[in-house]
């Protein structure tokens, strides 16, 4: 029977949760790297025992950890992230120029085909690549260098490159997203990049439809339809059917279109999941009720999923990398909260159960489906 392994990054360490395909009885391992922030962990699609983790601390900076045995043991690999050339400046919160400074790795995206190749999205926003399992890192500097970099500015949580999507049909095509610059695409393996934000409207910008400057929170893609993208923006849920060239709003009947996570069902490319959050000033669900919303129509028409989730006095947040789906026949959906709960639905969202309730604040959730 298939198994699932859930990789959980929290404010104070990493946890590895494992269950068989029924997803009812869970083994909880951790904390690994106790006391450190684990912004993200992700396994290699080419070798599920190879897992990478981003470990950071305000005191001691960045570490990258690598496991070759499915998260049982770890070794620190290279943590040297140095911008290519003279980094220059981006815009600070007050609009003044601010030097580019490396702070941490927000997201790690292993190659679809090679366990030793992976990408790292960092704060201040840039994309790095390793082709030797994390033993060395080089910036794909064409992203920062394409011209709009000096106009990027940080979101409230920092200027992080938080989303990296590899196109399974075209190894040269990669999408990334930055808060608050927007979405970018390369079609030549990361040498040159273009902003792909047409159709996004952001009220906080002087030019609401500017080419860059949008606070994109997360982007998701179904691997069978790599030209179709779904986005949870600061406000608005968006959809593109042409590889990001044009976006249209699909928030529809959501109770609020602010939020962080968005994901796609493993087997139904038009089935989406979001977790509406009341507002950017109140990072908690509306009415104290934690509800996932599902659309089976690619957006616009949404239904609340609340069975098994707290429906009173719940004021947690669900951060941008804290939702994932498994690949089992009945798609499992997982998300973690800033209150330390990790919820699992083994029936595509109809019902939910907590796997764990009392972890540190959850920063990221990734799922591996194992044979």
């Amino acid at each position: 029977m298939s198994k699932v392994r859930v990789l959980v990054g929290t404010r104070k360490g990493a946890f590895v949760l494992e269950a068989d395909g029924k997803r009812k009885n869970w083994e909880v391992n951790g904390p690994f790297f106790g006391g450190w922030e684990l912004y993200h962990l992700k396994g290699s699609p080419a070798d599920p025992n190879r897992i990478y983790a981003s470990q950071s601390s305000g005191w001691f900076g960045q570490q990258i950890q690598r496991s070759n045995d499915g998260g049982k043991t770890w070794e620190a690999v290279n943590n040297k992230f140095v911008y290519d050339g003279v980094p220059g400046t981006h815009q600070w919160y007050d609009g003044t120029p601010h030097p580019w400074e490396f702070k941490r790795v927000w997201h790690l995206e292993p190659s679809l085909t090679d366990p030793d190749t992976l990408y790292a999205g960092v704060e201040d926003a840039a994309l790095f690549k390793s082709t030797d399992g994390g033993q060395s890192w080089n910036e794909l500097a064409g992203l920062r260098g394409h011209g709009s970099g000096p106009h990027w500015s940080p979101g409230a949580g920092g200027m992080g490159l938080h989303t990296i999507i590899l196109d399974p049909s075209d190894p040269n095509r990669i999408y990334i997203a930055i808060s608050a610059a927007g979405t970018f695409r390369t079609d030549d393996g990361g040498v040159t990049w273009k902003p792909v934000n047409r159709g996004l409207v952001s009220e906080f910008l002087p030019d609401k439809t500017a080419e860059v400057g949008h606070c994109v929170h997360h982007v998701a893609m179904h691997p069978a339809r790599p030209g179709v993208l779904f986005m949870q923006k600061h406000w608005d849920v968006m959809r593109s059917d042409d590889a990001g060239e044009n976006w249209r709003e699909v928030s529809g009947n959501l109770p609020t279109d602010f939020g962080f996570v968005i994901d796609v069902h493993a087997h139904e490319p038009e089935t989406l999941y979001v977790v509406p959050i009341k507002s950017d000033g109140e990072h908690y669900p509306p009415d104290g009720k934690l509800r996932v919303y599902r659309s089976r129509t690619g957006g616009n028409e949404w239904e609340p999923l609340a069975n098994g989730l707290p429906q009173a006095d719940c004021y947690v947040n669900v951060l941008r990398d804290a939702m994932s789906v498994d690949q089992l026949d009945e798609c499992g959906v997982y998300f973690g909260t800033t209150g330390g709960q990790v919820y699992c639905s083994s029936d595509a969202g109809d019902t939910w159960e907590p796997i764990v309730r009392d972890l540190p604040a959850v920063l990221s959730v990734e799922v591996q489906t194992l044979p």
């Binding site: 601390s57 305000g58 005191w59 001691f60 900076g61 570490q63 040297k80 490396f102």
Partner: protein, 101 residues
């Protein structure tokens, strides 16, 4: 000369050292820069944890104490006290008490 250094627990774990102190062997002059250089050479996993890779500066929440004095704002090329240089006292590398989450 054998120079003693004390590391915060998180860095001892990272460097995989079990004792409370580490030591490095150095010739004079004994300075913070040369002690950290030697520590990073001996324990490569400490690279970037005490000093920023790009600027080479002490990370903001790291402090250097020696002989009951705060050396954090001294030049890293100033010779350390004789008691550190001859191994009677350690150079303390401290993670500052600094709130946080």
């Amino acid at each position: 000369m054998t120079i003693r250094g004390a590391l915060p627990a998180h860095l001892r774990n990272l460097a995989k050292v079990s004792s409370g102190e580490v030591s490095v062997t150095l010739d004079a002059p004994i300075t913070i820069r040369r002690v950290i250089d030697a520590l990073e050479a001996q324990y490569p996993k400490l690279g970037g944890t005490v000093r920023d890779y790009t600027t080479g500066e002490r990370r903001p929440f790291i402090r250097f104490f020696a002989c009951e004095e705060d050396w954090s704002h001294e030049s890293v090329d100033t010779p350390l006290p004789e008691k550190v240089a001859d191994g009677r006292e350690p150079l303390l590398i401290i993670g500052a008490i600094a709130g946080g989450m």
